[in-house]
């Protein structure tokens, strides 16, 4: 029961910050879908169905935070690369600020908890 609660909580947290993670990865370097999924999974963000990434990318595009472009490859099929827009970068800057202040507040709370010997 306890493990199930933790697993659900973890899934909710990951789901909630997936767009934040996606934007940060693409900000570092433009990615195509499969590459992006691979980078997300390397951060221990296991995605149950990889297909769920595409509706998310579409939503970020419709919000004008990302743009995409098909790039032909010398071998294999073309890849659709995603790039962050100016609006995306500005939005991500705000998201990162929120994340840092939230992380700081939670860290402080946990530090107090350790001090009290729990």
């Amino acid at each position: 029961m306890e493990n199930e609660f933790v697993a659900n909580w973890e899934a909710q947290v990951k789901k909630g910050i997936l767009s934040f993670i996606v934007l940060n990865i693409i900000k570092q370097s433009p990615c195509y879908g499969y590459e992006l999924m691979d980078k997300i999974q390397k951060l221990s963000f296991y995605i149950v169905a990889e297909g769920t990434l595409y509706p998310l990318l579409d939503r970020l595009k419709r919000e004008k935070l990302l743009v995409s472009k098909w790039v032909h490859q010398p071998t294999g099929l073309p890849r659709k690369y995603y790039y962050i827009t100016e609006l995306g970068s500005a939005t991500l800057l705000k998201m990162n600020e929120h994340w840092h202040s939230l992380a700081c507040a939670v860290d402080n709370l946990l530090a107090k908890d350790i001090k009290h010997g729990n």
């Binding site: 769920t52 595409y54 073309p78 659709k80």
Partner: protein, 200 residues
């Protein structure tokens, strides 16, 4: 935009499995505009190709199965996007049928969506109640309207037997029903827009 990507699969059974998967993908996205469908299909095919190329499975068939299994069921993973698109479409066209389709698509696409869009469905039914009452006044004028008894309000709508109640609104009933249904239609559309924005 790339629209004609294909994966070369050697085995017949592999081709069958891929065709079946792509057919179920096409079915899942059938309500989207063609350009969007083609773009998504090409992207999914590209994903399958990349996934197979990097797979550690031995045979081509196993690599394909592994790639498709990891992608998931298109009907499931595309569902939130289709539901969102239909709301966006319905709230921009202002067509009642599109609105009803959007409500139907969102009911069943997750618990929260089901609850919210069930409320929209009830609102939608009340909208039809206004339309029904408009016509009811034509066919049963004495039974439809705003009813009073001894100058006290008693009922609004349609009564099977008004008895001693007096209907007070008369012909004003018609504009009241028209204004109410139009206002409710815009209210539903506006609430759907707000709900979609908030979810994003």
């Amino acid at each position: 935009m790339e629209t004609d990507s294909t994966i070369e699969i050697e085995s017949i059974e592999g081709r069958k499995v891929l065709d079946q998967y792509l057919r179920s993908f096409d079915t899942a996205v059938r309500t989207l505009p063609q350009s969007m469908r083609q773009e998504l299909r090409a992207e999914i095919i590209s994903h399958i190709s990349e996934s197979m190329a990097l797979s550690d499975k031995e045979t081509e068939f196993d690599r394909l199965l592994d790639a498709l299994e990891r992608l998931g069921n298109p009907e499931k993973y595309m569902s939130p996007m289709i539901a969102d698109y239909q709301v966006e479409f319905a709230t921009s066209t202002f067509k009642p049928l599109d609105l009803l389709r959007a409500i139907g698509r969102n009911i069943g696409a997750g618990i929260l969506r089901t609850v919210v869009y069930s409320i929209f469905f009830i609102l939608y039914l009340t909208l039809f109640a206004f339309v029904f009452l408009f016509f009811a006044k034509i066919f049963a004028p004495g039974n439809t309207g705003v009813f009073y008894y001894n100058n006290e309000f008693r009922a609004i709508g349609m009564l099977s037997d008004p008895g001693k109640y007096t209907e007070k609104l008369g012909l004003l009933w018609y504009p009241l029903m028209i204004v109410s249904s139009v206002a409710e239609y815009f209210l539903i559309t506006l609430l759907m827009k707000v709900t979609r924005k908030r979810r994003n």
